[in-house]
Symmetry: C2
DNA sequence: CCTATAATGAGGTGCGCACCTCATTGCAAG
DNA sequence: CTTGCAATGAGGTGCGCACCTCATTATAGG
């Protein structure tokens, strides 16, 4: 059997009360005694029984995902996985829910965060663009004892807050490398499309993409980013212009999660086969991979994203260290063969 | 607060003893009563407190990974992740260990499995080639109440036993697609190398690879598989022959986990740049990707493999359903950009 | 009807720990 | 030495459940 706190007390030569004080970081213990207990822990390999801890603490975790009100298919996929995680984590006393919110409005976001009771909500995964207001509100929430992770958006590693998501610069570079290789040395221009370039993600992907193309494929020329604003008409109009002015477009990179509009419009305009790379696995991109409408998808596993955010929040609440190797989100490359 | 068994008893109009009988599948309860309880469970959304369950059951899980005694770098990586998982799962009362074993000997394997006490070992992840002896021994172990998953090797879905690992046919197809695309339409021959073709994995990867090349890249010709048997001298000798007899080799696919010997020997012999695709992320393949010695790696996440095997075994012991979406092992494509 | 057996209830115990109160001891300053 | 506080011990309670025993009540068979 595994050693219990009682065994530990005997080994360390102290009482259970002192073990309790040390294990839970309470005050009023001499440094000398703390050291004695820690040595005993190492000696007998004591590990607290998490079940007993959780039971005794009567702890239930309240976690919330703060997501945009409106969005693309990928957002829908995320919500589906949050629902799935809700069931999976119910057995671990964690309640998980998605909250749809006008996250683009920094003031409303700050208001919402400011109104949160850290006693009722243990942790939040926030998918929102950076803003000074949000930043301040988050810091105040942290001071009140809440836990926060940035989810897919926001400042990676800018502060001490965990970031759950891929390295977008590397993701863009990966897309660049794929397109470069798929074009096999031939010359050409690359059309780059995004719903908007307002977000940090888009900018970083573009930078990573350009880095690789400029360094390794100088025969390729990247065109300025076309912003669709999610508007079919606008997209069609701009594409017509671009294709008219730029003969020799040989590849397309869609760097935002919304790929349907640009891919469908391009298939109407293109006169020769193009290499097409987009982001995120959605019902549309899966189908498009299968029937050859696109060549590769740069993706991140949405289920993993959601579970990772929850596990990190849980670890922070418990004052444990998250398991880094498990929480690293991989940049996946999907072809039709490895769907 | 979440409803407890007591609340459930009140809602169902039965006693705690009956709730206990139903929840734990004990006998001596009328079907009518079981239904009443289950309805009440749905009505109030009762979920058993896992912490309390585990505490009361005093359950500790004993899981073992049965791995080959000798192997490549990838095996070392796996062992490292098993050690890491040992710590991570200690808090969940699961004891995990790797056992090195001459798994290639079906009789010794059957002996070992036959000698296992299902009371002392709750579950085993077996990485061993198929054999009638192993199959029988596994079935007997299952009858004694042990749990088993096939780990990376063995018959995927051939029986009711879970398989943890990638679909090797799809992995080979992915490699084929990558090489085909990277060659960009040019003609050429593809050298295919494996440590051995004895294993089912190797055969399936080769089949998947050939499928894609034959179907989508008819201008490419796949050569017969070169078997290295892990022997540098032998490899060098055969390679010299192959390169002498086959001008126009433009790509290499190493389909076994051991990639170092073939890649190093080829770099000495090749007169023109070759597209090189290998399997598994190891210190060697990582470095080779970085410095351009290879072009892509088809990989599976070793940490995920290990944790997945443990989670599945745990779910089986608890008579729960594993979360399918989490346990699916992805075929990863690694370029130097998305390491 | 009685009897045998099935179905259910009542109640206790303990898992390992957190959290609490109160008593006791050690130790330093005055 | 005494006073005062810091450090530690002793012991109790309860978290939600599994597991057990024994008593009581339904149900069916004869």
């Amino acid at each position: 059997m595994r050693p219990t706190a009682k065994d530990l007390a005997a080994e360390a030569g102290v009482s259970l009360a002192t073990i309790d004080r040390v294990l839970n970081g309470r005050s009023g213990v001499k440094a000398r005694t703390v050291a004695k207990v820690n040595e005993a822990i190492d000696r007998i390999g004591f590990v607290r029984n998490l079940s007993a801890v959780n039971l005794a603490r009567k702890k239930t975790y309240q976690f919330r995902f703060l997501l945009p009100e409106h969005g693309d298919q990928f957002l829908g996929v995320l919500v589906k996985h949050i629902d799935e995680a809700k069931k999976a984590f119910a057995t671990e006393m964690a309640d998980v829910a998605a909250i749809r919110f006008p996250v683009d409005d920094p003031y409303k976001l700050a208001d919402y965060l400011g109104g949160l009771d850290a006693d009722l909500t243990d942790g939040i995964a926030i998918m929102a663009p950076e803003s000074p207001q949000a930043r301040d509100a988050i810091n105040r929430l942290l001071e009140r004892g809440g836990e926060v992770v940035h989810f897919l958006a926001g400042q990676p590693k800018a502060d001490s807050i965990d970031f759950v998501g891929i390295n977008n610069h590397a993701a863009g570079a990966t897309a660049g490398q794929l397109i470069g290789r798929f074009l096999g040395g031939q010359e050409g221009k690359i059309l780059i499309v995004s719903e908007t370039m307002q977000s940090r993600d888009s900018i970083e992907r573009r930078l990573g993409f350009d880095d690789v193309i400029n360094r390794e494929y100088p025969q390729l020329q990247t065109l300025p980013t076309v912003e669709t604003y999610g508007d079919t008409e606008r997209t069609r109009r701009i594409f017509k212009n671009v294709f008219a002015n730029h003969p020799g477009i040989s590849a397309v990179y869609v760097l935002s999660a919304e790929a349907r509009i640009p891919i469908e419009e391009i298939s109407k305009l293109a006169t020769q086969p193009l290499v097409k790379v987009v982001h995120e696995r959605t019902p549309f991109t899966e189908a498009a991979l299968q029937n050859g409408k696109i060549d590769a998808v740069i993706a991140q596993n949405p289920g993993h994203l959601v579970r990772s955010a929850i596990r990190i929040l849980k670890a922070r609440v418990d004052k444990r260290q998250p398991l880094a190797s498990q929480e690293k989100i991989r940049i996946e490359i999907l072809l039709k063969e490895n769907l």
